[in-house]
């Protein structure tokens, strides 16, 4: 619309050869207009994604005085605690991504089988939309209020069933973190996976059935291969989501720098160990590399998946 107001002739005003010429011309203008419209987005991405990434990357290779060095990167590889924190974070991310993906996919399947306009579906989808973002201190608080040492469930079981104080120390361990992360991983899976399931057509099932296929052969030859890329893509997204989480874990386990995100915080906001900001940036660069690899994989898989979802 904006293009025609700046004086580009409408296709009908053009000479006989017009359509091709006019189409190309207006689309060139349109493309320029599109770029203009994208400026705020690019500025946003540049300011809040590329610029910080650059700051981290430069910081990782410089000393506090700004000279080039490999010491920060060296420190990451030389310090067992740093390597361990990557290992713990990756383990946590893999386990919670698998739990989230499998349970979330089953939940999505249950939702898809129901009435597409039913109240249950609306409710589940809306609830998942909220819960997928319900992380951080609030989630941890709710979790502890439920199963902490003084949690509602803990006290209920103590008062009515066991009558002794229970050992809830598992809450403050990797097990507790995994359970906690499941609260946002499963709903996130539903949100990203539901559209793919919706894309599965009844006709395909009918066609498979009319050729004598049962449920197994449908999933083996039709449903499975179609959904596999979206499932794997969602799995990677969940991995990244858990890998980069900080506030939830920090609120639950405030002691020690166990996860790599916590390890970075220990380097940059300590009043005991100072001048280690750039080691923190080297750790952050390690995270960026891992996440970037995963996201490239995700983009590739998504491109394959979108063939079917269209």
């Amino acid at each position: 619309m904006t293009v025609s107001t700046v004086g580009v002739p409408a296709p009908s005003e053009l000479p006989a050869a017009g359509p091709a010429f006019g189409g190309a011309g207006s689309s060139r203008f349109k493309r320029a207009g599109n770029y203009v419209a994208l400026i705020p987005f690019h500025a946003y991405v540049g300011l809040f994604l590329l610029f910080p990434t650059l700051v981290v990357a430069i910081g990782a290779f410089t000393t506090n005085k700004g000279q080039l060095t490999l010491d920060n990167i060296g420190a990451v590889f030389a310090t067992k605690a740093f390597i361990d924190s990557f290992a713990v974070s990756i383990q946590l991310a893999v386990v919670t991504a698998l739990i989230g993906a499998i349970l979330g996919a089953l939940l999505s399947w249950a939702v898809v089988r129901g009435n597409p306009n039913g109240a249950l579906r609306q409710l589940v989808v809306a609830a998942c939309g909220v819960l997928a973002q319900f992380g951080g201190v609030m989630l941890t608080f709710a979790f502890l209020a439920f199963v902490g040492y003084e949690g509602m469930l803990t006290l209920f079981i103590r008062d009515n069933i066991t009558h002794t104080r229970m050992d809830m120390s598992w809450v403050y361990s990797l097990t507790g973190l995994i359970m906690l992360y499941a609260y946002f991983q499963i709903p996130l899976m539903l949100i990203v996976f539901l559209p793919s399931l919706d894309g599965l057509r009844q006709e395909w099932y009918d066609a498979s059935a009319s050729l004598g296929g049962g449920a197994w052969s449908f999933w083996r030859h039709v449903g499975g291969p179609i959904l596999a890329p979206s499932f794997l893509g969602a799995l990677l997204l969940l991995f990244t989501n858990a890998f980069s989480a900080y506030a939830t874990a920090q609120a639950l386990i405030s002691q020690g720098c166990g996860l790599v995100t916590q390890q970075i915080a220990c380097q940059i906001q300590s009043e005991v160990m100072i001048g280690r900001e750039n080691v923190g940036k080297a750790l952050a660069l390690g995270m960026i590399i891992i996440v970037a690899t995963v996201m490239l994989l995700y983009a590739y898989i998504q491109r394959r998946a979108s063939r079917w979802v269209k």
């Binding site: 310090t79 040492y149 002691q255 166990g258 220990c266």
Partner: protein, 390 residues
């Protein structure tokens, strides 16, 4: 900690003083004539004082600084938890007395974040005007402070201040155990191993991040055969407590104490002490003890003025207030030991009831040297971890 603070700060301050000598010689040499010295060509009125560079209250005294501060309207503070060393009272009293509002940003952050925030917000008018810093951070950022000597300068022992007033120790405290006394009676660190305290013990802050947490581990080491040279027994002590489920890795706060989530807290006596009254009102009999099976562990905090303060006069008025008799007694009432305690005891201006309630131990506190702190940090980096791979 105290010794370390002094040494480090002395070294760092020395280099700054040497560098700054040429420029700031006159102001420090003429504290009583600062208004005229600071504004040679202007009329010698109080309004002509450039508070950004004033190194003392000058001829106008505290009233002049605080009147100028009132004109500025606001004091930007950062990282002052109202329940830390009675800071809530300090801030309320200051505003009531001088009519300067306090904008207290991020009350619960650590010292390094104070410095980071000051750098990020520099020039916005929202940057902190004053800092309250842990010694290690204070020593590392001396170039960010303005030299200022409050009127009570002579009362402050030389070991507790930088010669030109770039930094001054404000209060210290002992490491303590605060606990809900309905659980039992805790006198020693060894008492904490009792199975009845399962899931109840917390340490204020990660020792790799927070000074309070760090000194808690030092205290545990001293109680378990460790020494200032070797804090490993302290790490092992907490590991064993975590193993038995007694120690939980939660960061304690007034809310976690009130809700019963962390009914036993290792923290500075001035933090644990400030919980007594609020918890009493909620029916919890909170007690504070300095464990008898370890020598006492203490550390100073450091007050400084941001040289790029948005409200330089208000910042200097705040410094005058915290070192005044009223300010020092406010800390004492919060179980912190103010830096002018000796002079005020001599002068009889100390709050005797508050001093008696504080009941400091007779033994001299243990102080870690710089090298000992570095060794402790290395041990903590590899050993202080509560999430492990399964």
């Amino acid at each position: 900690m105290k010794m370390k603070a002094r040494m480090l700060i002395a070294v760092a301050a020395m280099s700054v003083v040497v560098g700054a000598c040429g420029g700031s010689a006159t102001p420090t040499a003429a504290p009583t004539t600062a208004p005229t010295a600071g504004a040679a060509t202007a009329a010698p009125t109080a309004a002509a004082v450039d508070w950004k560079t004033a190194t003392s209250a000058g001829a106008g005294g505290v009233d002049a600084v605080c009147a100028a501060g009132k004109a500025e309207g606001t004091l930007n503070t950062i990282a002052l938890p109202p329940d830390w060393a009675n800071y809530g009272q300090m801030m309320t009293d200051f505003t009531a007395k001088y009519g300067i509002k306090i904008a207290n940003d991020q009350p619960d952050v650590d010292s390094q974040t104070e410095i980071n925030t000051a750098k990020q917000l520099a020039g916005t008018g929202r940057q902190p005007d004053v800092f309250d810093l842990a010694p290690v951070v204070a020593a590392a950022n001396v170039d960010m402070y303005a030299a200022y000597q409050p009127v009570v300068w002579k009362d402050i022992p030389d070991a507790n201040k930088e010669a030109t007033g770039l930094w001054v120790n404000n209060y210290s405290g002992f490491m303590s155990i605060g606990y809900d006394s309905s659980l039992g009676d805790i006198k020693t660190m060894a008492d904490l191993k009792d199975p009845k305290y399962k899931g109840k013990i917390a340490l204020n802050g990660d020792p790799l991040k927070a000074s309070a947490g760090f000194n808690g581990v030092v205290m545990a080491a001293l109680a378990n055969g460790g020494s200032a040279d070797n804090i490993q027994p302290g790490i092992d002590f907490f590991k064993a407590l975590a193993e038995s489920g007694n120690f939980i890795p939660v960061d304690p706060a007034p809310t976690t104490i009130a809700s019963g989530q962390t009914p036993i807290v290792l923290d500075w006596a001035y933090n644990n002490g400030s919980q007594i009254d609020p918890l009493n009102k909620k029916g919890i009999a909170w007690k504070v003890t300095i464990p008898s099976d370890a020598p006492p562990v203490a550390s100073w905090y450091v007050a400084t003025i941001n040289k790029d303060a948005a409200h330089p006069a208000a910042a200097r008025c705040w410094a005058e207030y915290i070192y005044s008799d009223a300010g020092q007694n406010t800390w004492l009432k919060g179980f912190a030991i103010p830096v002018r305690v000796a002079a005020m005891t001599t002068a009889g201006t100390i709050d005797k009831a508050a001093q008696a309630a504080l009941n400091p131990p007779a033994t001299a506190p243990v102080l870690l040297t710089s090298a000992q702190i570095d060794a402790a940090k290395a041990l903590l980096t590899s050993g202080w971890n509560f999430i492990t791979i399964k």
